[in-house]
Each structure stands twice: as C-alpha cells, then as structure tokens.
Symmetry: C2
DNA sequence: TCGCGTCAAAAGATATATCATTTGAAAAAA
DNA sequence: TTTTTTCAAATGATATATCTTTTGACGCGA
C-alpha cells in the first residue's frame, strides 16, 4: 500500500519525467512540475499542497518546497496571501501583456542571435520543423509544444552571451497553462508556415524579416487563438479580485 | 558571544533591513539578500554558504536555502556545477545583453503604462525625482539607487495588467553587483536630466518621446558607465570559463 | 436565521538530525 | 620531487520533528 493513511489523494496527476542520475530530488521535482505547467497539464486554480505532493511523489516535503519556491519566483506559480500556492488563473489583460512580452523578448533574442547563426544551425532548426510536421500528423500535441520551444530556443541560444532566454522561458511558463487548449486551435493553421518564414529570413540573414516572422509566429500562434479561448471560457476575472 | 565556535565568520557583511512582522523568516532573508545584491554590497564571485549565512543571521539553514534558491531562479545568483552558490561574475558581452534587455523591457513597460498615467502619478514621480536630487547632494548613493528604481517602477506599475515588472526587477538584480561602482560615475552627469525628459514626455502623453527618454536614461546611466567600469576592471572573462 | 467566538485539524514555516557529495590536505607511491 | 591515494572535515541535500498560522466546522447567543 502506498497510502499514507490520511486519504488525501491529490486531485491532479503530474506526468512523470525521466530522472537523470546526477539530478537532485529538488531538481527532479522542479523539472517535473515545470514540465506539467508548460504543457498545461495542471488546471489553473489548482492548489498545490506541499505534504500532498510529497506523499504523491514519495519523498519528503523539503525538496517539494524548494521546487515550489523556485517556480513561484519565476511567476509560474502564485503565492496567495494566506501562503497557499496555486496554479495562476489569468486575466485577458494579463494574457495580452504576456503575448506582447513574448514578442518584445523574442524579437530581441532573434535579432541578437542572427550574427551567430550558422548553416548548421539552420539545418538543425529545419529538422526540428520537420519533426513538428510529424507530430502534427500523429496528433502528438505535447511533443509539438516541446519541439516548438526547442525550435525557438535553438535560435536564441546561438548567441552565447544572451541573457534573455531565462526570461523567455519564464513567459512561456506563464502561458503554459493555456498551451493545451490553444495548441488544438492552432495546430493545422498557421504555426508551420511561419516557421518556414523564419527559416527563410535566417538563410537570407535578414534581421528585419526575421523579427517580423518571429512576431507573426507568436501573434498567429498563441496570440490569436488565445483571445478566442479566453473569450470562450469567459476568463475575464478582475485583476484585483481575491482568488479563492 | 555570538560565535558558534566554528570560527568561520563570513567574509562579507550584508546590510540589515527592517523586518515587518508579517514577514516569514525566509522572506526576510530573501529581501535582505536581494537588497544587498541590488545595491552591489556583495562582491561578484563571493561564495554564499548556507550554514555560514544561517549562523551569521542567527537562524536555521532552511529559510536560507529557500532564499538562495529563489534568487538563483531569478538569475541573481549562480549555481555552480559543484552545487556551490556564488554572486555571479559578469562578462562584458553579458553586460551589454542585459542593458539591451533593460531597454527592450522598459520601453515596453513605459509604452503600455502610458494610457494609465494620471497627473497624480506624474506628481509622485516628480517628488521621487526631487528626493533623488537631495540624495545626490548628500552623497547617499544607496538611497539614490533605491529612489531611481522607485521612480521607474512607479511608472511601469501604473498598468495593473502588466507582467513585465518582475522581469525588469530580475534584470536590475543581475546588474546590481555593478550598481555601487557605476553610481559614482553617473551621479552628477546625466541621470537627473533624463528624468526630466521622462516627466515631460509623460505630461505630453507622448509615447514616442517617452520611449526615447527611457532608452536614453538607461543608455546614459548604466550603459555608458558600465562599459567604462568593465573595461577598467578588465572584466573580459570568457563566458564558458570555469568560475573560481 | 445570522453572525460570532472556540477549537481542533490541516497546512505552511522553521529547526534539527542525518545522509551524500565535495574538497583539500596529508600520506603513500612513483 | 611529483603524482596518486586516502580520508576526514566542510558543505550541500534530504528527512524528520516541532512550531505557527490558517481553515472550517461546531456551538452559542443575538
């Protein structure tokens, strides 16, 4: 029996991830929760209890707390006034801000990466793009999300001096809870074509075209569909409202 | 005697801050360390030992660890491969990236805040600006830094939907270790005039002028002087180099 | 019925104990 | 002398125990 006897099983499931041997438990928990949030596997508003998670994962509360703190610092989780930690609910206004933030940051990252772009890098990105096509064909939504992020990250990290990537990751994380809902809307429409545009701009080493393509990719992707989903779900909670 | 008998007194001093009663110990430690980093009170490369800090502050290691983790997540501290935590050293390349990041983020924040700007807000900012003049006159460097950040933050947070502020704070933190060195160079030259330009643009509700003024403020401030200081100190460590 | 105070359970925060890894110096070997 | 090995101390990581705050149900009185 794995039950600890208190009968408080969590009302959620958090996809497991492979644990590399050099990882500390805290890191494992961090990446596991991060992955779940990024893929939108945990519903906004869900309360994350330290003891419950510890029991759920079969470890002590300490590493759980550290992982939660870390994610809170990245604004991937929200700490309420009563010290409870929840998966953030989002407002339409905040969503728009996050999309603009993505555009702002990723345009910069792309622009600064361009001088470091090599043909090999472009080829790698093409491969990722092809794998995305496969993922679409097979309906592997989560894989598609991961590949899409890899595609972008590969570009931005070409610049080894860059300090933007962590910030971008933070924004991705904050948009994560909507990923799963959005990806279905987006899938068979834009995304892919925009990636072709990005690759063209890279080949041409054209900064302006690159930034335009990045922005279009973001707008057409999560931007457009985001508004739709948010409207559908009536997520227009006032910012200052107390989150029960 | 406050000595714990092991004789390992930390090789640094961390300015104390007032502790509000509703603060948890972990929060207190977090804000205290954050403040120290922001003001450049801890030298880059300094190793932060959990037990040493705990003894230094007279508390248990647990809240220290959490605060360190949190700061690491915000890239305000660096976790080495051997699990040691240090105040990051910076490279000239990374410094430049951070300045560009500041410009990118703060231009966006200012632009998005403008529609929410009221006359009262402008007056508040003017007051802060005046207090900066006083701080300059009295040579209160740290206060000047704090006031300068308040000045900017007051503007950016006028937009209650904004999601940028945490990101900006993170960049400020990463630039923090240089604050103390830079502020002296900057003090009696640009900064103040640029603030007047910002206030003018706000009064005129002119988005373009505002963004230009913000960018100029950043460039003239930490940007210019930054290059100088970094060059003086010969901080041109290769990015991939092992630290310590 | 509707607050309102009481109190025990739940959940977070902190301290302490213990385990695991890393470091660095001393001893052994080349 | 130089390199390698060994091992204890230092330090980080995790588990456990204990303290504090918050929650929510229950009973009481208006």
């Amino acid at each position: 029996m794995t039950s600890t006897g208190n009968g408080t099983e969590p009302a959620f499931s958090i996809p497991d991830i492979p644990r590399h041997h050099h990882m500390t438990i805290h890191e494992y928990v961090y990446f596991r929760l991060r992955n779940a949030l990024m893929l939108g596997a945990v519903k906004p508003g869900t309360s994350l209890k330290i003891r419950a998670l510890a029991a759920y994962m079969g470890i002590s509360p300490t590493p759980i707390r550290e992982a939660l703190r870390r994610l809170s610092s990245e604004n991937a989780l929200e700490v309420l006034g009563n010290r409870r930690i929840i998966v953030p609910r989002i407002t339409a206004g905040k969503f728009e801000e996050l999309v603009l933030l993505r555009i702002c940051l990723e345009r910069l990252a792309a622009r600064r990466a361009l001088p470091y772009v090599s043909d090999i890098l472009i080829r790698d990105m093409s491969v990722l793009d092809d794998r995305m096509d496969e993922a679409v064909a097979r309906g592997q939504y989560d894989l598609l999300t991961v590949l899409n992020q890899s595609f972008h990250e590969r570009l931005y990290t070409a610049n080894h001096h860059q300090a933007v990537m962590p910030q971008i990751q933070s924004v991705w994380l904050q948009l994560g809870p909507f990923q799963r809902q959005l990806i279905r809307t987006v899938m068979d429409t834009y995304q892919i074509d925009r990636h072709k545009e990005i690759l063209s701009a890279l080949s041409a080493r054209d900064p302006q075209a690159l930034q335009t393509a990045i922005e279009a990719d973001i707008r057409d992707g999560i931007g457009q569909a985001g508004k739709k989903v948010l409207a559908d779900e009536g997520v227009v909670v006032p910012c200052t409202g107390k989150i029960s």
